[in-house]
């Protein structure tokens, strides 16, 4: 199989699909244009990762999921993520491509907060969705995968926080790919209006150790003037899923976007996290941890682009590679002309555990303005056998010693993560991947 393989989905299919989803005409047009555009676009260009033999075409597109009535119905790995209590009032669970559970507290509803699946939103909140969907964040025609995303979108969520509304409790969503061959073309659209505040937390879970599937995810986050968005994610797709995930933020004047990403997929993954600091005095901190294992190949990019004066962007990513896993970590700080007094800082660190594991960190600073500050730190290294020897000399097994070293290596990022639930989830998922 090669990346050039044609998709088995044409315009007729998309027309029918769109009708069944009761989509407005404008969105149907987005799909139909996108499928045509996708044909002529190339795959994303990755400097150091070759996409040959990655599965982007073998999947089931339209798979439904039943409603979840009780917490106990959820599989163990999701219950763990939600915490055994799971009293979250603001929670959506998407099972395959359908909403299986949705709740939003009455207080937030009264304040005008919108949290619903994207198909409902494109009808009920048409103006907002139309204004923000793949316009100023991610464009349909960036490359073949963004175009396919728009064409084949089969899941998504819309979160809107009105002006001056501060949401105290995290808004949480779980995307559960129960069907092992189900594709997820998922779109997250988050708009935080002026001076609002919100913490959003998402989990991706699949169950396909052997079957092949595809995840093509685009998140667009808009923090308007003075808004404050904290975005947490723990990706945990199984080995069979090839993932393209593009999380992009746009911060206006005095706005803040904080990212806390646990990049814990077991399959091949391209993960792009880009923030545009458009407004003066805007701020972003992108934190990410990754654990690679098996034969998986991954390409991570954390990028912050400064347009606003006195904008500040920080990138901190730590990754551990085990077995034969390969990962590229790109850290890019870009300061555009006119962004005076901007500050771009980044740190990327990779630890390789086994002979076959590979890691690469590419710190890049692109600066088109004189009056700025910037800095980077990067390191790639193998686990020190003397460290393991020291730990083992106290009776600790090699496996346990490696576990301690991995947790220790990732902990400077994990403990800096502002959302407690994400910290706890990450510790769980890291634990699961270490053995």
């Amino acid at each position: 199989m090669t990346v050039e393989t044609q998709l088995p989905y044409d315009k007729d299919y998309l027309m029918q699909y769109s009708e069944r989803r009761k989509e407005p005409q404008w969105f149907r047009d987005v799909r139909l244009n996108a499928i045509e555009t996708a044909e002529n676009l190339a795959m994303p260009k990755l400097e150091k990762t070759r996409l040959k033999n990655w599965n982007f075409t073998n999947f089931k597109h339209d798979v439904s999921g039943e409603a979840v009535q009780k917490f106990e119905e959820l599989p163990e790995k999701i219950r763990v993520l939600l915490g055994e209590k799971s009293t979250s009032e603001n929670l959506i669970i998407v099972r395959n491509n359908d909403v299986a559970h949705a709740s939003l507290s009455p207080e937030l509803q009264d304040k005008g907060v919108v949290f619903k699946d994207i198909f409902t939103a494109m009808n009920e909140n048409e103006d907002l969705v139309k204004k923000y969907f793949m316009q100023d964040g991610v464009s349909v025609d960036e490359h073949k995968l963004t175009a396919r995303h728009a064409a084949l979108l089969n899941s998504g969520v819309f979160l809107y926080v009105p002006k001056n509304v501060k949401v105290e409790e995290p808004i949480q969503i779980v995307f559960w790919q129960e069907d092992p061959e189900a594709a997820l073309f998922n779109h997250v659209l988050l708009v935080a209006d002026q001076h609002s505040e919100v913490t959003y937390l998402e989990n991706y879970v699949s169950e396909n150790k052997n079957e092949e599937a595809v995840a093509n995810i685009v998140s667009e986050v808009f923090a308007l003037d003075g808004a404050n968005v904290s975005y947490g994610a723990v990706d945990n797709f199984e080995k069979g899923t090839t993932t393209y995930v593009n999380r992009r933020g746009v911060a206006q004047r005095d706005a803040t976007i904080e990212w806390a990403l646990g990049q814990m997929n077991d399959g091949n993954t391209i993960s792009d996290n880009v923030t545009y600091l458009m407004g003066d005095n805007s701020y972003s901190y992108a934190k990410a941890v990754s654990v690679g294992r098996g034969d998986q190949k991954q390409d991570f990019t954390a990028k912050i682009v400064h347009y606003g004066k006195e904008s500040e962007g920080y990138i901190l990513q730590h990754g551990v590679m085990k077995d034969n896993a390969t990962s590229i970590f790109n850290g890019i700080g870009k300061i555009e002309h006119g962004a005076t007094k901007a500050n771009a800082e980044q740190e990327s660190r990779v630890l390789m555990l086994d002979q076959g594991s590979r890691g690469d960190a590419n710190p890049i600073l692109l600066i088109d303005e004189d009056d700025v500050t910037a800095g980077h730190a990067a390191s790639v290294g193998r686990v020190d056998p003397i460290q393991l020897y020291y730990l083992m000399s106290r009776g600790i097994s090699q496996q346990e010693a490696e576990r301690l070293v991995i947790h220790g290596f990732l902990s400077p990022v994990v403990r800096e993560i502002p959302i407690e639930t994400v910290q706890a989830q990450l510790r769980e998922v890291i634990e699961g991947k270490v053995y």
Binding site: D384, P385, I386, Q387, Y389, Y390, L391, M392, S393, R394, G395, I396, S397, Q398, E400, A401, L404, V405, H407, G408, F409, L410, S411, P412
Partner: protein, 261 residues
């Protein structure tokens, strides 16, 4: 005497192709304190590392037995589980792992599964031991050896020794880099371990540690071998006269490795 017995027989050890130990023989029984002395570069630390299983050292000949069991067949963690302990000259720094978490993992790895040390009992023991060694309490929550001063690292090694209570300990230059107050505290900890069961091999090239810890047996290493053994009086004579008289007696010109007699 009760306790364990460590037997080192005709031990030859290489590092990166260079032979460092050229036939060391040494037997340590439970209840005994042995001191291995000698100038720098005579193979003392190599002996300690080879017994524990340091990955860079290769045993080319000879044997190490603990209560008759072949230590050389054991992985490093199995050696610890069998009762061996090495207080290292240069302990590793482990970022992100607290001293307390590490010690608890260690203790539990030395106990049977399902017989983990209760948390409160662990905390109590750790607090008491830290008090005894005059260690600042916040060390428990600091990352293992990270940013520790030389003295703190050495105290931490003795803290581990006292918490893990091995049958047989090797202390590799535990006195180096310590000021006199720290040396007294560290010695106090080591002496507290003394009982009928516990065996200990103290490696040092300074006599001064033996002012605080009295060994039952003293051995002198040169050129990768034990060249002289005796009682505490040997250490006293070394303090008074240095090593030259031994070299003269044995006809050794250069005591360091690579200078074959």
């Amino acid at each position: 005497m009760a306790g364990s017995t460590l037997e080192i027989k005709d031990l030859h050890v290489e590092i990166e192709g260079l032979e460092i130990l050229k036939g060391v023989n040494l037997t340590i029984k439970g209840g005994e304190f042995h001191a291995v002395m000698g100038p720098n570069g005579t193979g003392k630390s190599t002996l300690a590392s080879a017994v524990m299983g340091h990955p860079k050292y290769e045993v080319t000949k000879g044997s190490i037995l603990l209560d008759g069991e072949d230590v050389l067949e054991m992985e490093v963690d199995e050696r610890a589980q069998a009762g061996l302990f090495l207080a290292m000259q240069y302990p590793s720094e482990i970022s992100g792992v607290t001293t307390s978490d590490f010690l608890r993992s260690s203790i539990n790895s030395l106990r049977e599964e399902g017989d983990e040390i209760p948390l409160m009992q662990f905390i109590k023991k750790m607090d008491e031991t830290m008090d005894y060694l005059e260690i600042d309490k916040n060390m428990a929550q600091r990352y293992l050896n990270e940013g520790f001063s030389g003295g703190e690292k050495k105290r931490n090694e003795i803290l581990q020794l006292m918490m893990l209570e091995p049958a047989m300990a090797i202390l590799d230059e535990i006195d180096s880099g310590l000021d006199i107050d720290a040396l007294k505290v560290v010695s106090k900890g080591i002496n507290k371990m003394r009982n009928e069961e516990f065996g200990c091999l103290i490696i040092t090239h300074y006599q001064r540690l033996l002012d605080y810890i009295t060994p039952d047996h003293v051995h002198v290493m040169m050129q990768g071998r034990v060249v002289k053994s005796g009682g505490p009086e040997l250490a006293e004579r070394l303090e008074a006269e240095g090593y030259d008289w031994i070299k003269e007696e044995l006809g050794i010109e250069d005591e360091t490795i690579g200078q074959n007699a």
